[in-house]
Amino acid sequence: MMKSKLFWPIVVLLIILLINLFFDKNFFTIEVKNGYLTGSLIDILNRGAPLLLVSIGMTLVIATKGVDLGVGSVIAMAGAVGAMTVSGANGDSLVPLFTAIAFVIAISILTGIWNGVLVSRIGVQPIVATLILMVAGRGIAQLITDGQIMTVYYDPYTFIGGGHLLMLPFSIFIVAAMLVIASFLTRKTAMGLFIESVGTNPEASRLSGINSKNILLMVYVFSGICAGIGGLILSSNVASADGNNAGLWYELDAILAVVIGGTSLNGGRFYLMGTVIGALIIQSLTTTIYSIGIAPEINLVVKAIVVLIVCLLQSPEFRKKVFGVFNMKQTEKKSKNEGVSIS
């Protein structure tokens, strides 16, 4: 099950990477340059870090049959808060850095609680509940930066998104850490089970004594934290905070990543690893578009086509119709069942 879910996304990812190889012979080469490992693959991981984070958070939200449109704004707010906290500072005392991190996490938790309460306690539909933050959040971010692009002159701050550890970009480690945390919460505790059951059938879950309210609250908080850290990385990477543009349209890319990864927007089963692949697909696609010199006008068309291809490849019906006999029996029945069991 899990495997078949991951198979096609991985294939697409490989195809995209191979296309790059075609344009740039040493695309896969990873060399040591002024002390760091560098190479396109590493760049993709590094650039993709924020999206990866946001998508991981989004996965859990979507598993509960919800969606978090607020992430983009949270990214902006986090960046603003972070930059503002260290704006005064310079020299290399680490205190401001950690206060900044603390503040950022604090505010992301706040946003998470905000969304979570609206959805779980007041019962607002997720898409609208989070839409509120999506709109207002940017305002708040700009309020903090006073509409300016706040530049940071404090070097330690740039470490989060620009620094290196063990010759690798630091952000990669952050992502890894969050991924581990998420997997632990969902696979080593009952969190995952509860999320999936609430996402599939809230009423039955309630009658089974599961406190769906707190589950919902928790996933939105987690999503908030992920977005917050993502924002920190973004802003630290360019050593500035841009209240209006930071994280613009991230919500859509994140949802896209989650769905490409095989998680259904109808809630229920979720696949963190799939999400990771999904996010990588999107990021490498972007990088590819830039590096093989596609005209900006047709960026979107290309993106659309790739998205469709991924989805079609994942659809058993499509594979059946196209690849004909190709493991026919299998998919045929699967599709038939899905035909009626989706609801």
């Binding site: 344009f23 740039d24 340059k33 002024n34 396109s40 760049d43 650039r47 700009q142 006073d146 509409g147 300016q148 692009i149 530049t151 620009g162 973004l234 990477n237 360019v238 050593a239 500035s240 841009d242 209006n244 543009n245 930071a246 613009l248 972007t286 990088t287 578009i289 830039y290 590096s291 093989i292 010199g293 005209a295 900006p296 006008e297 960026n299």
Partner: protein, 314 residues
């Protein structure tokens, strides 16, 4: 406020003339707050109007033309004495401007023109000439590289696809360099006017073309600043190995130039608030004013950066 009763008159000129001295209600519809430049422009306009002792009705269109039209309509409904606005797009304001004209409210265009045949719909257009900015940038480059023989490989960071400054700055730039066969734009991609994108795209450029990039032409300074970081991380010297041209002349650019990381920035001056207020008062006082007033702008290079830096307001 005078807005409640003020507008309900037959001839605007007489009433306008009467009003020119005393407190005016001015509606200002801004595109949005998409960049530092824009914010500076908004501030300048707001302060200028307040300092002149007039009442400001401000509305932010959030980059949406439909919002802007709503805003203009409501200004008309509130019977303001004058409308200032920076169009989101050049096109598609006939109808509402006609309504304004019928309501005898003078309209002043700021920063961006509208493309309407009937120019009686607005009093004047005060703003920068994006195409000219593109030309300036190119001309600087031509002089700078006059004595270098061989190709000059240029990469371009465009603004948001379809936005007026992006289109015009590209046009102006290309218009000049097309007479110089040795100048080639080898890569051109949008960076959406933002630092993050600028950096990301520049990284990709460096990956694919690396050393043989000679010049970066960026449609605004923010993208250039992002790109500079990318170049440094790639291990080249911005300003030396790769010459960097920006537009806007925001403070960030001056810092970069002062640090020798950027070569030149073409000014695109957002601080024309006072100039605009003068025009409004003049018009309402019945004076004749030209249809097109240019904002005085120049161009700053590395060597000027040092002493000018403290004086920059944005």
């Amino acid at each position: 406020s005078s807005s409640g009763t003020g507008g309900q008159t037959d001839s605007s000129s007489s009433n306008g003339a009467g009003k020119s001295s005393d407190k005016l209600v001015i509606g200002f519809s801004q595109v949005g707050a998409e960049s530092e430049w824009r914010t500076a422009n908004t501030k300048s306009m707001q302060n200028a109007i307040k300092d002149a002792g007039h009442e400001l009705k401000f509305s932010d269109a959030q980059q949406k033309q439909e919002n802007q039209i709503k805003a203009l309509r409501s200004f008309i409904a509130q019977k303001v004495d004058a409308i200032v606005f920076s169009p989101v797009v050049e096109t598609g304001f006939e109808t509402v401007l006609q309504e304004a004209k019928d309501a005898k409210i003078p309209v002043f265009l700021a920063d961006r023109a509208v493309d309407i045949k009937d120019d009686s719909l607005w009093v004047t257009f005060l703003g920068s000439d994006f195409i000219e900015e593109g030309r300036k940038a190119a001309n600087w480059l031509v002089e700078e590289t006059a004595d270098t023989e061989g190709d000059v490989n240029i990469v371009e960071l465009q603004g948001t696809v379809g936005s007026a400054p992006a289109i015009d700055r590209k046009e102006g730039f290309e218009e000049v360099i097309k007479d110089h066969p040795n100048m080639k734009i080898i890569k051109s991609q949008t960076g959406d006017f933002t630092r993050a994108k600028g950096k990301e795209v520049m990284e990709a450029f460096l990956k694919s073309d690396g050393e043989n990039i000679d010049v970066l032409y960026s449609h605004n300074d923010d993208m250039a600043i992002g790109a500079i970081q990318a170049i440094e991380e790639y291990g080249l010297k911005p300003g030396k190995d790769i010459k960097i041209i920006g537009v806007d002349a925001v403070r960030g650019a001056f810092e970069a130039m002062a640090a020798g990381k950027m070569n030149v920035t073409v000014e695109c001056n957002p601080l024309f608030g006072p100039q605009m207020v003068d025009l409004i008062e003049a018009h309402l006082a019945g004076e004749e004013i030209p249809k097109r007033v240019a904002v005085e702008e120049s161009m700053y290079t590395m060597d000027q950066a040092e002493e000018l830096l403290p004086t920059r307001e944005y």
